[in-house]
């Protein structure tokens, strides 16, 4: 694999670098967007830094070296326990849910051509929350909260799209159907919360705001299983989505099946959200802020799916770390931290005069 500015005398376009090489006797070449690559590297470095901090800091403060020793099982027994059993699982949960929420948000925003359109806004989080709370308060069909959250997200999605199918996914009227469905689920959650005993309401509380403390290893496994192929599919869709941002006609002209791409992206988006909500509860704001951050850093040429994933993972782990340290030893749920951090940003997004919502 070699790096060269040009190949066969054809220079790479401005802002790109061409990666070329011979693999298995076939010649491949790849254009790398320099700014996007830089942004991804930057985000990756930030994620790694926060990850090390997340493994080191909390009630027991470890040096990064102790944390890494604990990670590989060579440190003191208590360090190994804290890092491997408590912090690593939590870190994985944070990274995976953040990446999933943000990727899902980026996909839906691109399809709806609106930066405010995320799965959380169209009621999927609310559906998952209502079902999870129902499970906690003992109304579930014997299922634990994570599978119930999945079922709830699926139900909300099916209802929303069934109601909106004939108006199509264009014109994003399905968003309004989703807001309506979300309102119903929100009302049901409130009804449940107000009728249960206060201890049960306390137990259900993390499911209403989003927390990484209550994460379930089974649900996390499902998320990880879904995230990897999901990312691969998203990357395959990325090119078509880039063109879909402009118009269906152009996409068709270039040989893409617009509605198939759109449906695939939406399906992927809600699946990822459902899997992530089953782990962490509704932390929908990451889906708004992650892609926004990615777009700022990355090049405007493409849909920054990779950067959005990294940004989401970064935000989620950082917010969780802050939440653990802020009022230690009492933890502030990650959903609350993202709300505080996200609030000003969202208002700014809403009120900025030059904002292009599309």
């Amino acid at each position: 694999m070699t790096c060269s500015a040009d190949r066969d005398g054809v220079p790479a376009p401005a802002g790109f670098r061409r990666l070329g090489g011979v693999v298995c006797g076939r010649e491949y070449s790849l254009l790398i967007d320099r700014r996007a690559a830089l942004a991804n590297l930057l985000l990756l470095a930030a994620v790694l830094l926060v990850a090390v901090l997340a493994l080191s800091l909390c009630s027991i403060t470890l040096s990064p070296r102790q944390a890494l020793a604990g990670l590989f099982g060579t440190g003191e027994a208590i360090h190994v326990f804290v890092v491997q059993e408590l912090r690593l699982v939590r870190l994985m949960a944070g990274l995976a849910t953040g990446a999933a929420f943000s990727l899902a948000g980026c996909l839906m925003q691109t399809v709806a051509r609106n930066r405010l359109a995320t799965p959380g806004i169209i009621g999927i989080d609310n559906g998952a929350t209502a079902f999870a709370v129902a499970s906690v308060v003992g109304l579930g069909v014997g299922l634990a909260p994570p599978p119930m959250a999945l079922a709830g997200a699926a139900t909300a999605t099916v209802v929303t799209f069934a109601l909106a199918c004939d108006v199509g996914t264009r014109g994003y009227r399905f968003i309004v159907a989703g807001i309506g469905v979300g309102a119903v689920f929100g009302a049901l959650t409130q009804l449940l919360m107000m009728r249960v005993a206060i201890d049960v309401a306390n137990a259900a509380y993390p499911w209403t705001v989003g927390s990484l403390n209550a994460r379930n290893s089974e649900a996390l496994r499902w998320l990880l299983i879904g995230l990897l192929p999901g990312f691969a599919v998203a990357l395959r869709l990325a090119r078509a989505l880039t063109i879909l941002r402009f118009s269906d006609a152009i996409a068709r002209g270039l040989g893409y099946r617009a509605s198939a791409c759109r449906h695939a992206a939406l399906a992927l988006s809600v699946t990822l959200t459902a899997l992530a909500v089953a782990v962490a509860g509704p932390v929908g704001l990451v889906a708004l802020i992650g892609p926004e951050m990615a777009r700022r850093l990355s090049s405007p040429r493409g849909v920054p799916l990779t950067a959005a994933m990294l940004a989401g993972a970064l935000l989620m782990t950082l917010a969780d770390l802050v939440g653990r340290l802020l009022l230690a030893p009492i933890e502030v749920p990650v959903g609350i931290v993202t709300a505080i951090v996200g609030a000003p940003l969202l208002l700014w997004m809403l009120l900025r005069p030059e904002a292009r919502l599309t």
Binding site: I60, I78, M194, P333
Partner: protein
């Protein structure tokens, strides 16, 4: 992994046990404790205890152990007000909502006393730090607190003081019951909510003590099986809380405030028990979320005062 983790603790445990042996000549027996997660063998006398449940903190203090860590009481930043003086500066390791397992680990406990409602996931983690005692969840029963306290005491290897405390509570309740015709005075425990009152179940810790003190406790038929309290009652059905005595609580400890809020409601003013002046404002935290011998004595204090009225 398990044994390597516990090794230092076992060392200190043995050392502590050895010291005890030398000083008091008490022999710490290896014993088996039946918990919700099966039988657990404990040997030695635990000294570094963390309680993740208010009832466990109460029992531990009765047993003469000051825990290293405890969870904050519902709605507060520290332990329950009635335990504050005895618990001293116990470290807070989370809230009733969420336990911070790492903070527990940092204390290096040799015994963890948890609530019946502890989740399996949390149990798996906690039990790797130290033997974790989770009483079997037997639903709402007025006497569940006694079994729980005895279980914690056994795990702590200090059964005598807890048994004595439970007997003291029973004797005091009997003495109170003798002051009134048994089962003829009716009583209701309710929490005043902005939407109307919730009637508390007759199967709770505090309503159980009311019954033991000779009251016929009623719930107006509004509490469904297996629930600690009713939905907020419609004001049209307020007559259901009418009794010879009404114990009125809110979540926060200022029961008087609850009474003031209730008094602004004309429907409340019409109740016979209000007319008779037999409404007793009580600390809702103590009456609706605490359990254990110390809490029982405080509840009996309230009941005794009400009798003297």
């Amino acid at each position: 992994m398990r044994s390597s983790l516990k090794f230092p603790f076992k060392c200190s445990l043995l050392l502590g046990a050895g010291l005890c042996l030398a000083v008091t000549a008490a022999v710490a027996q290896a014993r088996t404790v039946a918990t919700a997660h099966g039988e657990i063998d404990i040997d030695g006398r635990p000294e570094r205890v963390v309680t993740l449940y208010e009832g466990a903190l109460d029992a531990a203090l009765v047993a003469g152990v000051t825990p290293l860590g405890a969870v904050a009481t519902r709605g507060g930043k520290g332990v329950a007000a009635y335990l504050q003086s005895q618990a001293g500066d116990v470290a807070i390791v989370g809230t009733a909502r969420e336990t911070n397992i790492e903070a527990v680990a940092a204390l290096g406990p040799d015994l963890i006393l948890a609530a019946p409602s502890l989740s399996d996931e949390q149990y798996q983690l906690l039990s790797r730090l130290a033997p974790t005692i989770v009483p079997a969840d037997t639903g709402f029963r007025p006497d569940a607190w006694k079994e729980q306290a005895r279980l914690y005491a056994r795990a702590l290897d200090r059964e005598a003081p807890v048994s004595a405390a439970i007997e003291a509570v029973e004797q005091r309740a009997d003495a109170l019951a003798e002051q009134q015709p048994a089962g003829e005075t009716t009583a209701t425990l309710a929490r005043w909510m902005p939407h109307g009152p919730m009637i508390m179940s007759t199967r709770l810790f505090s309503t159980g003590l009311l019954a033991a003190s000779g009251y016929a406790v009623r719930d107006g038929g509004a509490v469904r099986e297996g629930r600690p309290h009713s939905d907020p009652l419609s004001l049209e059905n307020l007559a259901r809380i009418d009794s010879d005595r009404l114990f009125l609580a809110t979540l926060n400890d200022d029961g008087d405030k609850a009474l003031a809020a209730a008094r602004r409601s004309p429907a409340f003013e019409r109740l016979q028990v209000v007319d008779d002046g037999h409404v007793v404002a009580v600390d809702g935290q103590l009456w609706t979320s605490a359990s254990g011998p110390l809490a029982a004595q405080r509840v009996l204090d309230d009941i005794e005062q009400a009798l003297a009225q």
